[in-house]
Symmetry: C2
Subunit: 321 residues, 2 copies
């Protein structure tokens, strides 16, 4: 019994920032993302006659210090669905670190899907989204293509992603600008926790997300690119305002992050479509149109030497290969 699933990574336009249940990875707010075509994880799950799981990542066997999160996740699945099989997992990440994306979203979505197929659990996509969420919150969204909303819910069964438009006919592309040298970062888990516990602005963030989710869904329905860009940029910057106002204050911004934000302002002043979104790290993802993206990339590369630019387009949901 062996099956391989492919899941793509996603970029949150309305950010997931804060867990109300750490164990179940239930968020305080809904979030909304765009699945990307360029970065994905292929994961093969094979039932093995053994009393331990074996995990290969990029063809390297992971030792016990490195496979712990995945082994714990497989145990969660066994407990939940009441079976005792162990697996060999072969996972290949096509999400290079140099692209500035975390691989946990595509990784846990692909793993959940591979187990579902191999064990023939017959899960619906909604159930698959719940299962993926238990591995990594943002993985819940990588089950679907295009625009996806993760509904916060209130328990394990009610917190899952739903497709907003799986194959949107909309002129959007994403330029990931990766800063090659920067100091090590605060993990997103720790950053979220500190924001929730200590930022005096966190309660207003919850209210803000609720209204921005509504607005961006209207903008998506109308294919109002400018509105999508504006809401996304404002939402991302408001998330980073939560880290600045945490106590003690911290920031994911590197000096180059500010420089790239200045360049995006300049591009917009020239009439070129470019809006910033930034996750829990220094890299800037620029929301572009297919027309603007070349100009944006040229301008960024001309002004800055120490960055790598990678282009992505809208991607599909889970696939079996």
């Amino acid at each position: 019994m062996t099956r391989t699933a492919r899941a793509y990574t996603n970029i949150a336009l309305i950010k997931y920032w804060g867990k109300k249940d750490k164990q179940l990875k239930l968020p305080y707010t809904n979030s909304l993302s765009l699945t990307l075509d360029r970065f994905y994880t292929d994961t093969k799950a094979t039932i093995i006659d053994a009393d331990k799981d074996i995990v290969y990542l990029n063809k390297q066997l992971l030792d016990e210090t490195k496979n712990k999160r995945i082994i714990n996740y497989l145990q969660t699945i066994r407990d939940f669905y009441g079976f005792s099989d162990h697996f060999q997992i072969d996972s290949i990440n096509h999400v290079p670190t140099s692209a500035g994306f975390a691989s946990s979203a595509s990784g846990f979505a692909a793993l959940a899907a591979a187990i579902n197929e191999t064990k023939q659990l017959g899960l619906t996509r909604q159930e698959l989204s719940i299962l993926a969420r238990n591995g990594s919150g943002s993985a819940s969204r990588s089950i679907y293509g295009g625009f996806v909303e993760w509904q916060a819910g209130f328990d394990n069964a009610s917190s899952f992603a739903v497709p907003i438009d799986e194959n949107p006919q909309i002129d959007l592309s994403l330029l990931s600008v990766v800063i090659n040298k920067h100091s090590k970062k605060v993990s997103s888990t720790v950053g979220m926790e500190n924001s929730v516990k200590t930022s005096p602005f966190y309660p207003n963030w919850v209210t803000l997300v609720s209204s921005e989710i509504k607005e961006i869904k209207q903008a998506i329905a109308k294919k109002d690119l400018q509105k999508i860009g504006e809401i996304s940029e404002h939402n991302a910057m408001s998330m980073h305002a939560l880290t600045l106002s945490a106590n003690p204050s911290f920031t994911y911004f590197a000096p180059q992050t500010i420089k790239i934000m200045q360049l995006i302002q300049e591009l917009r002043q020239k009439g070129i479509f470019a809006y910033a979104t930034i996750d829990a790290g220094p890299n800037v993802k620029i929301i572009c149109t297919k027309e603007s993206i070349t100009k944006v990339q040229e301008y960024i590369e001309q002004q800055l030497s120490d960055v790598t630019c990678v282009v992505a387009n809208i991607g599909p949901g889970i696939q079996y290969i």
Copy 2:
């Protein structure tokens, strides 16, 4: 009839960010500052037999485009106190732009005091603070030395600064780190207004300031330097969180601002006393002790080439010279 007044600039540890009345410069919140000894304005006011005011700044006659704010202010004073004299104003700013401080606080405080003396208005310091506030909000605090609180009030007569400790025996010094090259900034007036109108976090800022003012006054009374540093840094960063979360988002940070904040973190990890405060611009002011300030300056200058460091100590209130 001629008198000269000297007023020193001040650094807000709890920031003034947002006017509830633009005309009267009434703030939404109290603020709290430390007057500095290094930067000041000397202003001489002379009653002249003319129907127009004449303004010299740093020995240069200001033309009508440049003296407007001062002329309007003099008219406000005439209207308020019911006299019709005009003045020659000779103002010398010892607040070099390269020190990273605005001269409006010391400038309007010195001007208000000079008029008060020249016209023998006999204003109390409280009345002088009100008068200075009408020129520039933060000037209300430069009437006093040491730690000063500007109480927001609710109308012209109730919005003034009060001394917390005019001559504090406390081991604090300030290192102003000025970034020599940076792009032009959003004025603080426009920045405040955009934050108040569009940041979803502004209502919580008002609540935050109210509790941080109480906490820092307790810390000042106890001479708890670390607490003063921590509260000041958190308050400043929360103010900058208001600009990031404004819509559209903006920031006063330059790339070097982030770099200096990283260096301050490193200094603290080495056990060296250093906390950041940042106003409506890219420069970073570092709250130090007399012991730490040399080490802080050396470290900053060693790591960064394009900055100028200036040291200031605690300064006095209005003086007549």
